[in-house]
């Protein structure tokens, strides 16, 4: 049986499933133009805007690292480890210039903190957060642009 690729529980509608050029999906308020990620749905967070109308828009695929760290220990549940035994991974907060947002995400496997700096250019890719018998549960991750390679 083939496994299906599905967004991880809680992240449905947060990104496109485009294999080559995926993008995070945010809300853009049709009245004031401000963005929200994750999509806010029914209210604009701008205190000076009472709008409840939003357009779903793809966010910039590239951004610059605002800060970064790693997880040397396995995070507790509800995190689901993708494999037996903990393999440390990086987490980056990435600034998207046009949207004025900083978005967290894991960094793709193989990247260490030594490969990152405040200002490093990264792009969004889709990766498997974890798999079960029927599904690959997908999540966005950040990948340094200079590193290239498969995501």
């Amino acid at each position: 049986m083939t496994r299906t690729r599905v967004p991880a529980l809680g992240a449905e509608g947060w990104f496109t499933l485009d294999a080559e050029t995926p993008a995070l999906l945010g809300d853009r308020c049709t009245a004031c133009g401000s963005y929200a990620f994750p999509p806010a749905g029914s209210f604009c967070r701008n205190p000076r805007c009472a709008s409840t109308a939003f357009a779903t828009v793809p966010l910039s695929r590239r951004g610059k690292v605002w800060s970064y760290t790693d997880a040397q220990y396995a995070p507790p549940s509800p995190y689901v480890a993708p494999q037996e035994g903990h393999v440390p991974f990086c987490i980056a907060a990435v600034e998207l210039a046009e949207e004025g947002l900083v978005v967290l995400g894991q960094v793709v496997a193989g990247v260490t903190v030594d490969d990152l700096q405040v200002g490093t250019e990264v792009e969004v890719v889709l990766d498997t957060l974890f798999s079960d018998e029927d599904h690959d549960h997908l999540i966005w991750k950040w990948r340094p642009v200079a590193a290239g390679g498969a995501g």
């Binding site: 529980l9 790693d70 947002l101 967290l104």
Partner: protein
């Protein structure tokens, strides 16, 4: 114009540790210590304000009633507050406003916690609409992840070093040696800090605060009541429990992204800088007037952020303050003379109250072995998840 003040007539704590008993026990012990310190009876209390714990079932969610029942029902009104790490300050604010409104003369504020071992994690069960569940599930982002993002940014922007961060721990561990309520009373060297395992680069195990059991309480009263019971009581001149101003452009627990600054630019002050500022505004007192500060060192590096955010120096100058010894005991403005979270570990609902206990002892000259000379004005500062933060300004 400065707001009216209330008095801190009594303070008390149950020592921090990993005692494994009910939080109610710690809270009652702290409450009785604060009542004894104030020299008043439990039956004199006109309002009980509890700070909630989220990990101890229903009694933790109705902490005001839980503590009132444990002390013995007297018919006095209760309230229970939850504001993450700022819960204790929110409970104090409920008491202050009630006193200033003339609804009671004496209020007892209590917070206590019993904590599990290891990383703080969300309650069990799938909750895909809860941001706290989502950050663990989707990103594996623990609390130290967020502390480390702040630490790394200091390094890349301001040139902070591993040694600077370790130095904060060394300073605080020394301060806590003489504190009978501290959980960790052992001097730690820079080498020991740097040799401890990396948790979230650049932060190591000894740089990240543990979770602890503990309890703290204060008795707040009107100034008129206090004058009948004490000579020159310590007073609260300001309590800040502000939320962020949109757009909050610094990533905070437990969020996956910041607000958007695309339409409105970042506010004049970051959320963290706005916290103490609001207390200063209420009191008509500024950072130059401070003798002492207790700030929320969830990590070593976060203590340095606080130096800037409570106005001790400009952004990027905290490392210099630390290196010059300005924030050590005997320095210009000692920070965390209690030993801070480095020596306590976090007992969430008790922590903001414990900060006020320490400043009260400092202002009374009763902080044996860790006393700041001639302390007259002190501030506390803390920040928790979901847009909570607090600062309390105290003076003699």
């Amino acid at each position: 114009m400065a707001v009216d003040e209330v008095a801190v007539l009594g303070v008390g704590m149950h020592p921090w540790g990993k005692w494994g008993r009910s939080f109610v026990e710690y809270g009652v012990a702290a409450a009785n210590a604060a009542l004894a310190d104030a020299g008043i009876e439990w039956t004199d209390v006109g309002f009980v304000s509890g700070a909630d714990t989220m990990r101890n079932g229903y009694p933790g969610y109705v902490s005001g009633a839980t503590f009132a029942q444990a002390l013995g029902w007297t018919g006095c009104p209760v309230a229970s507050s939850y504001a993450a790490c700022a819960s204790g300050a929110t409970a104090m604010e409920a008491a202050r406003t009630r006193i200033l409104a003339g609804l009671c003369d004496v209020a007892l504020v209590v917070g206590a916690d019993t904590t599990p071992k290891g990383f703080l994690a969300p309650n069990a069960g799938d909750r895909p609409t809860d941001p706290d569940w989502l950050r663990f599930r989707l990103l594996g982002a623990t609390n130290p992840t967020y502390f480390a993002l702040a630490a790394r940014r200091r390094m890349d922007l301001y040139g902070a070093t591993d040694a600077d961060f370790a130095h904060v721990k060394v300073k605080n561990s020394r301060n806590g040696l003489a504190n009978p309520n501290a959980r960790y009373r052992k001097e730690v060297t820079e080498d020991e800090v740097l040799a401890s395992p990396m948790v979230a680069d650049p932060l190591r195990l000894l740089e990240i605060c543990a979770t602890s059991d503990g309890g703290a309480a204060v008795v707040l009263t009107s100034l008129a009541y206090a004058r009948r019971h004490a000579v020159d009581p310590v007073r609260i001149a300001g309590i800040s429990t502000v939320t962020p101003t949109y757009p909050n452009t610094i990533i905070d627990l437990p969020d996956i992204a910041t607000d958007s600054a695309a339409v409105l630019g970042a506010p004049e002050r970051s959320f963290k800088a706005s916290i103490a500022h609001a207390a200063y505004e209420q009191a008509g007192i500024g950072p130059d007037d401070l003798s002492v500060a207790e700030v929320y060192d969830l990590s070593t590096a976060l203590e340095l952020d606080w130096y800037e955010d409570i106005g001790l120096c400009k952004p990027g100058e905290a490392e210099r303050l630390l290196r010059d010894g300005d924030t050590s005991l005997g320095g210009r403005i000692p920070v965390n003379p209690s030993g801070g979270l480095a020596c306590f570990g976090e007992a969430v609902p008790a922590q903001a109250i414990a900060q006020v206990c320490e400043i009260t002892w400092q202002l009374r000259g009763q902080a044996t072995g860790r006393q700041v000379d001639d302390a007259t004005v002190g501030v506390t500062a803390n920040q928790g998840l979901f847009g909570h933060g607090s600062a309390v300004l105290l003076k003699r």
